[in-house]
């Protein structure tokens, strides 16, 4: 693995582009998807070092995606930062219960975003297991 990849999952193209632009400026490789199922495919294909996950997504919400990833042995170590417009205690708690590592409230500040991402990427190489030969389709949604 040459460089860490951050997977951004958000249904708003604006948010995807801004996050991508902000992180790329810090020389962080970014891939973006707009829905839950594509997110799972990307996790299996790309083995990201970190996931920025919106909660309200088409086809499958962020909590479900988080739970699926956390149940999978290969991917459970990936830090998941939830991005949400909801900043209530209950929402944050729900995110935690689903297995998120951190919770960022929209509208987020780009400096804060970079800081949070870098914090979780600091030890990504130690954390990530070697990528198996064929991880594609290993994540399945049975919802």
């Amino acid at each position: 693995m040459a460089e860490p990849t951050v997977l951004v999952v958000d249904d708003s193209p604006t948010v995807r582009k801004i996050v991508q632009m902000t992180l790329q400026r810090e020389h962080i490789k970014v891939i973006t998807v707009g829905d839950g199922l594509s997110a799972l495919t990307s996790v299996a294909d790309e083995m990201p070092a970190l996931i920025l996950l919106d909660i309200q997504l088409p086809r499958m919400d962020g909590y479900q995606i988080c739970q699926i990833i956390r149940k999978h042995l290969q991917f459970r170590q990936i830090p998941i930062i939830m991005l949400s417009g909801k900043d209530g205690l209950f929402d944050k708690m729900r995110g935690r219960l689903a297995g998120s590592t951190e919770y960022l409230t929209k509208p987020f500040d780009s400096v804060e975003l970079v800081h949070t991402v870098k914090k979780h990427l600091a030890n990504w190489q130690e954390r990530m297991p070697a990528q198996p030969e064929n991880t594609r389709h290993r994540l399945r949604y049975r919802g």
Partner: protein, 467 residues
């Protein structure tokens, strides 16, 4: 690395890089020479006293493929194809270009040789620093033919002398990390300026992203020569030196504004009736306009580098810059904008937002709709002007422009949904006049049926995105 493998180390002040390299070449050594000064480290791989590879730590690898595209030597689709395979490795990119027949093997060798000479020349100018030679570090396979140390040193010293010459003449204070970009005011054809091909090529590569070092590498010209050309282009007011720190700050601020406005837009999507939706759009648009005005008051080119500027001067500047456009819009297309005004450098839309106190029903909706269209037009004007002024046609400018267009497309999506609703309503009204039964289109029925006033105006997709 094992300590016993390090067969030589020391201080650059005691033994210079030139002497070290000559010594290693004469004794036909194989291994890796590490030279460091401050945060920079250069590693030169040697095999039997010849240079077979070089790596510069702390210097990001320039995007050779992008530069070849800027120089019209490579098509962007081909560059992308190579980029996908090479994953940022310059040597690999060049090798793939040769493999595909898009570059000659001779040119690849020439470019790799130049890279070695350029980096060595830079390191030859280091006064303080350390060096260490490790014999057991076997050089990796390289695409480059081995280079004779003497010929590399000869050319590198010549290039280093040119830098010294520039410094002694006081010609320029540019460094190899300087980034330049075209000035936004330059719109005429540069060919009419009578510049030589080399000047035009440097101008083409001054895109606000590439360092002087990268430009030199792309053109395979000594850095000092490029510095001279850039100094001349600066004199001609064709380019400017990019303040990267300021640009980062500016991009962060604009990104934050876009994210905030997207968030407001998403929240407004929860509204269920057309008036509320339009009001939500007006709120989003005015917040966006005012966010941009505040931003421009901080980063406008005319206000930069002047220390603390009184707020009234900033207010006057913003009004002078944008009030005429607002006036033109209100006089020519959207008369509702006459109710808005500039107040302390901010667009005051209060009269529109409280219009429901004086107008009701369809008339109110008409006014809101006109306000939305007018504000969208004004927002576009402000952002275009602001970007042109602050960052011009630079890399950052283009990135922000793309992000901005994506955000505007989200607003346009909302506007289009309303237009669809209006079209259906108008059709139904005309049918109603002809005593035809109401249309079966749901969106119209929702509005027609009083019992369904709390029904959903927007599609489920749009409402879902509002959270």
């Amino acid at each position: 690395m094992e300590q016993q493998d390090r067969i030589m180390d020391g201080d650059l002040q005691t033994l210079g890089l030139q002497s070290i390299l000559k010594m290693l070449a004469l004794s036909g050594k194989t291994g890796k020479l590490f030279v460091s000064s401050g945060s920079e480290t250069l590693s030169i791989s040697l095999r039997k006293g010849q240079i077979v590879g070089l790596h510069e730590e702390g210097v990001s690898q320039p995007d050779m493929l992008g530069m070849l595209c800027l120089l019209n030597k490579l098509d962007p689709p081909r560059a992308q194809h190579i980029r996908d395979y090479a994953r940022g490795d310059m040597q690999m990119s060049l090798a793939l270009l040769v493999e595909r027949g898009w570059m000659s093997a001779g040119e690849m060798q020439h470019r790799l040789e130049f890279l070695v000479t350029q980096a060595t020349s830079h390191a030859l100018r280091w006064v303080n620093g350390r060096f260490a030679f490790h014999r057991q570090v076997i050089p990796m396979e390289s695409k480059m033919q081995p280079l004779d140390v003497d010929s590399v040193l000869l050319e590198a010293l010549r290039q280093a002398d040119e830098w010294e010459e520039i410094a002694s003449e006081g010609l320029t204070n540019l460094s190899r990390t300087t980034v330049a970009r075209w000035l936004p005011e330059v719109s005429k054809d540069v060919r009419s300026l009578g510049l030589s091909q080399e000047y035009i090529e440097v101008l083409c590569l001054s895109n606000g992203e590439l360092t002087l070092q990268a430009v030199a590498l792309a053109l395979m010209a000594p850095e000092a020569r490029i510095a001279r050309i850039m100094a001349r282009l600066l004199e001609l007011n064709l380019i400017e030196v990019v303040d990267t720190a300021l640009e980062t700050e500016l991009q962060q601020d604009l990104s934050n504004i876009i994210i905030r406005c997207q968030h407001i837009l998403a929240q407004q999507r929860q509204s269920k009736n057309p008036e509320q939706v339009l009001l939500g759009l007006i709120t989003t648009l005015s917040a966006c306009i005012n966010g941009l005005l505040v931003h421009h008051g901080t980063y406008a080119r005319n206000l930069r580098g002047r220390g603390h500027i009184p707020s009234m001067e900033i207010v006057r500047y913003l009004e002078r810059r944008f009030a005429p456009q607002l006036q033109t819009l209100s006089q020519q297309q959207f008369s509702i904008l006459e109710t808005t005004s500039f107040s302390y450098g901010q667009l005051d839309c209060n009269d529109i937002l409280t219009l429901n106190k004086v107008v009701k029903g369809e008339q109110l909706e008409e006014f809101y709709w006109e306000a939305v269209q007018g504000l969208v037009a004004f927002l576009r004007i402000i952002f275009t002007e602001l970007l042109r002024d602050e960052v011009g046609n630079s890399h950052t400018g283009r990135q922000l422009n793309v992000a901005w267009k994506i955000f505007l497309s989200e607003i346009d999506h909302e506007v289009q949904q309303y237009q669809v609703y209006r079209a259906h309503r108008n059709t139904q009204q005309s049918r109603g006049r002809e005593n035809i039964q109401p249309s079966s289109i749901n969106i119209v029925q929702n509005r027609q049926n009083p019992s369904d006033q709390h029904g959903d105006f927007w599609s489920p997709e749009t409402r879902r995105r509002s959270i």
